[in-house]
Subunit: 131 residues, 2 copies
DNA sequence: CTTACATCTGAACAATCATTCAGATGTTGG
DNA sequence: CCAACATCTGAATGATTGTTCAGATGTAAG
């Protein structure tokens, strides 16, 4: 019913107090973009499998990651380049092979949370079929 | 150096044991897709702000969500439709207004984890400038 | 019933993105 | 140095997606 300026633009607002409160408690734009970006890295089955694999076993070379994830080695390389650019994974050279590992504690936490929930759900479903 | 069948296809593998181990411990395809999908919902600044707002204040109508997030009401409506389709948010009608709230504990956990980290990082940065 | 309101919807457009292909880079062993 | 190897890279393609616009639905108030 009332109006307010936000980006300098005028908008309708019902509960001005709530709106003001939420707006101050919301993360800064920069943080929101960064966060969304981070979620975006996890929003693709291929990359998700790559990261989950690294979380599980610690370190793997490109061709093994391809074998595990079912992607082509080229696709894996592209994915790893992206993850590398975002400092999510780290490389270690060993002869002609490149071994990748997780390098971001934030992503590790999110992966843990997400995968824990998945396994928990699966466990429940298994329990149901118990007898 | 060795080879293996995965999708029936033949692939190079270096550490066959690790590959086999990871493959069994990895979530099922269905779960991976579902998870990636979930992350995808969080991978956009607009939706992220909407969900963070709901996490903060519990319940908001569409136009207030638009005011908070800085999106057009139409864009908000589209976003909410998507979130609704994935059972992430829930609607309550009140007159001609629709009030939305979070409805998915999984997403709530992920949001909590993510936002906690953001605030923690911010706190550290603030501390540094304490003098 | 008619108007103003709040939200929803579908089509269309622009932008982003993942994958593939062909070839480049750099590495090891003979 | 040469050949096989492991990974990387860029361009091109096809698919997916977010936003906008115009209008549809449904609700409340006079």
């Amino acid at each position: 019913m009332s109006v307010t300026g936000i980006d300098g633009c005028v908008v309708r607002v019902v509960d001005a107090d709530k709106v003001a409160a939420v707006r101050t408690s919301l993360p800064a734009d920069e943080d929101v973009f960064e966060l969304a970006d981070m979620f975006g890295l996890l929003a693709e089955p291929g990359r998700l499998r790559l990261l989950a694999s690294l979380l599980e076993v610690g370190e793997l070379c490109v061709c093994d990651l391809a074998a595990v994830s079912g992607m082509s080695e080229s696709a894996v390389s592209h994915a790893l380049r992206l993850l590398r650019a975002h400092r999510v994974v780290q490389v270690r050279r060993a002869g002609r092979r490149n071994y990748y590992r997780l390098a971001d504690s934030h992503v590790r936490m999110l992966l843990d949370t997400a995968l824990a929930h998945t396994e928990h759900t699966k466990a429940r479903q298994t329990d149901v079929g118990h007898s």
